[in-house]
């Protein structure tokens, strides 16, 4: 647990350092926080760290609430990396936030702490506390630009719908506890089979899944996504799209496959339907959009659907594909939002027209955004292609058992084809825009350049050499059982 404690301590230090730092040094504060998190990230790979895989699945503390297995470690690395990149982005964005920049950094770190706890949650109480820490931090992060009406509107929408989903989740937990008397996932797994026919227990499971569905923005709990993504400050949106969504998925995997495996087996139909509709809804609604952040909002709904393919397959191949896809999604989406944060810094809205002439203003950013779109669309040789390939493979392998899986794979392919239109609309806006653009070059700070190049390298690496991560993911999902 030393990792989580260090992250919380880092948040407190950032919060306190603000008191003594002169205003012109605050930029350094964000970079220092990012560097500290990077160190913690690298530290997870050293063998003596408490995060090492060698300690095995029995490594539980605090009355079995906190589990440090392979899955937890995988997602902890994921969240740490995402937070580092988001913090670098936040420093770049700080002039638009205006007041309270250091608090912005520290809230990102606290949200990260919540995600780390959620990755290790092995108990409903722990899970709920961690989720609330994440969600409440995001309410603040979303409405941080309080001078902008859109940001406040996004914050209020997220608050109301988030509170509703929390209510569903906690009601679900109460029903599960009321019928089984268990909070702990392992203990629940032992008795879940007995309750598989108990309708009240199933009601609890459904309500709990509603709460998680809101987190991952799956249909029909996706209404908040486009508005919140558009209104929130860009680094918040990026963290929401990567961190918050991945939290939902790690909890979904743990809940379905560790806590109620006997029940989840019978639920493939529900997962197939939700996944299929989510893919279609996200892709179709993205078509008419002109605002880049809204496009990414709808595309993130579609991608939640793609990731659900792997969950719906209910196999270890599907689970490891989920992990691989999320890793690729991290680099891709963070690259896209980094470009948005840089290019649209001085514009009021993130309209596609703002991208005009980007290839002359900054070839690096134009290339990054193009690659991100190509990867999101799922074209080889980038990370997105291989992720989709693995997910579809996992689904089609299940096809002979249930023909619904073939329909699902077909739906996903249709979704990919639809999505080409709007992803390439973005690329067209960069290179072939007719509007007369302002051609002032865009300055990029060194850390930002490094972050952007790192994201690009990640996309290429995962697309060209997927073997290492696939093996790691396959090894990780063993700890779910």
């Amino acid at each position: 647990m030393s990792l989580e404690i260090s992250v919380v301590a880092l948040g407190l230090i950032v919060l306190l350092a603000d008191l003594w730092l002169p205003a012109e040094r605050k930029r350094m504060l964000g970079y220092s926080a990012a560097a500290a998190l990077l160190l913690l990230f690298l530290n997870t790979f050293t063998s003596h760290c408490s995060c090492s895989l060698a300690e095995g699945p029995d490594n539980m503390t605090s009355a079995g609430m906190f589990i440090q297995d392979g899955l937890a470690v995988f997602f902890k690395r994921f969240f740490l990396l995402a937070a580092v990149l988001v913090l670098v982005m936040a420093v770049e964005f700080s002039d638009r936030i205006g007041a309270g920049v250091s608090e912005y950094y520290s809230l990102i770190v606290f949200a990260l702490a919540g995600m780390l706890f959620a990755a290790s949650a092995n108990d409903f109480v722990m899970l709920f506390a961690a989720i609330e820490l994440i969600t409440i931090t995001f309410y603040v992060l979303t409405s941080f630009q309080r001078g902008r009406v859109r940001s406040l509107e996004a914050g209020v929408k997220y608050l109301i719908l988030g509170a509703l989903s929390s209510a569903f989740m906690v009601y679900g937990i109460a029903l599960i506890w009321g019928t089984t008397g268990k909070f702990n996932f392992q203990e629940l797994a032992q008795v879940a089979g007995k309750f598989a026919a108990n309708r009240v227990f199933l009601f609890g499971v459904v309500f709990f899944l509603v709460g998680l569905g809101f987190k991952i923005a799956a249909f029909p709990f996706q209404m908040w996504t486009p508005d919140v993504y558009e209104g929130a400050p860009t680094p918040t949106t990026a963290f929401l799209a990567v961190g918050s969504k991945a939290t939902g998925f790690v909890l979904l995997l743990r809940f379905l496959f560790t806590a109620i495996p006997d029940v989840a087996m019978h639920w493939n139909k529900l997962l197939i339907i939700v996944s299929g509709i989510t893919i279609l809804y996200g892709n179709l609604c993205a078509l008419p959009q002109r605002n880049l952040k809204r496009i990414l909002g709808y595309s993130s709904i579609a991608h939640a659907g793609y990731v659900l393919l792997g969950v719906a397959a209910l196999t270890t191949a599907g689970e490891s594909a989920v992990l691989y896809y999320l890793a690729g999604y991290l680099f891709t989406v963070l690259a896209a939002f980094a470009v948005i944060a840089l290019v649209m810094r001085h514009l009021n809205s993130e309209d596609l027209a703002g991208l005009a002439g980007l290839n002359q203003r900054s070839p690096l950013l134009a290339a990054t955004l193009t690659l991100a779109m190509v990867s999101l669309a799922g074209i080889p040789p980038l990370a997105g292609f291989f992720g989709k390939f693995l997910l579809l493979k996992a689904v089609i392998e299940q096809g002979p058992a249930n023909h619904g899986y073939y329909c699902l794979a077909f739906t996903a392919l249709a979704g990919v084809i639809i999505s080409l239109y709007y992803y390439f609309g973005v690329i067209r806006a960069i290179y072939w825009s007719k509007e007369t653009p302002d051609l002032s070059p865009i300055e990029i700070s060194k850390p930002m350049k490094m972050a952007v190049c790192f994201c690009m390298a990640g996309m290429f690496y995962l697309g060209l050499f997927p073997g290492a991560l696939i093996n790691y993911a396959a090894q990780v999902v063993k700890s779910l059982k």
Binding site: S62, M65, V125, A129, I136
Partner: protein, 176 residues
């Protein structure tokens, strides 16, 4: 007196009274046919919270009941009233409710409630489980909080810090 108390606790009568009060007052908070005044709604919320405290007492969770009254019915409600009075809300205008939306909402709520009640009747929750140990005093609660549930408890403390920072940031007049 003791006999009376014992009778009240052992029978289900009080449960039905408090449950009915909670639901009825909760309904009046959101949709009161007699008054559109926000203060009235807030007062019904107080009643809802107090009847919920009654439910906690029936579960022998005396500490929670007391906290419910002190924190929610006391402190939080005072804040609510402050905000309502500061904003000087007039009687809210009747919003036009779309007929179709209302119908769809009522239908879906009715359907969920119907299925839920039916499954409750069928499942008989709590069957096969040992009778719950009714311990709601401060000592067992504190022991649990600082042993088994220490970690979530500490996470909640971080959460409160975040909420505090957030409220100050979002409400302070001019930040430097």
């Amino acid at each position: 007196m003791d006999a009376l108390l014992n009778y009240l606790f052992s029978s289900n009568g009080l449960f039905w009274v408090f449950a009915f009060m909670t639901l009825a007052c909760g309904g009046l908070v959101v949709a009161n046919p007699f008054s559109r005044n926000p203060v009235t709604s807030a007062m019904f919320l107080v009643l809802t919270i107090i009847s919920m405290a009654g439910l906690f007492v029936l579960l022998h969770a005396f500490f929670l009941a007391a906290v419910q009254v002190m924190v929610y019915a006391g402190a939080v409600m005072v804040l609510f009233l402050f905000v309502i009075m500061l904003l000087d809300l007039q009687e809210e205008e009747r919003r036009k409710v779309k007929k179709l939306g209302l119908l769809a909402g009522l239908l879906s709520i009715g359907a969920i409630a119907g299925i839920f009640v039916k499954s409750l009747m069928a499942a008989q929750p709590g069957r096969g489980l040992p009778a719950p140990v009714a311990e709601g005093g401060t000592i067992p609660l504190g022991k649990l909080l600082f042993t088994n549930y220490l970690l979530p408890f500490e996470i909640v403390s971080v959460l409160l810090l975040v909420a505090m920072v957030g409220v100050i940031l979002l409400s302070k007049k001019d930040l430097k």
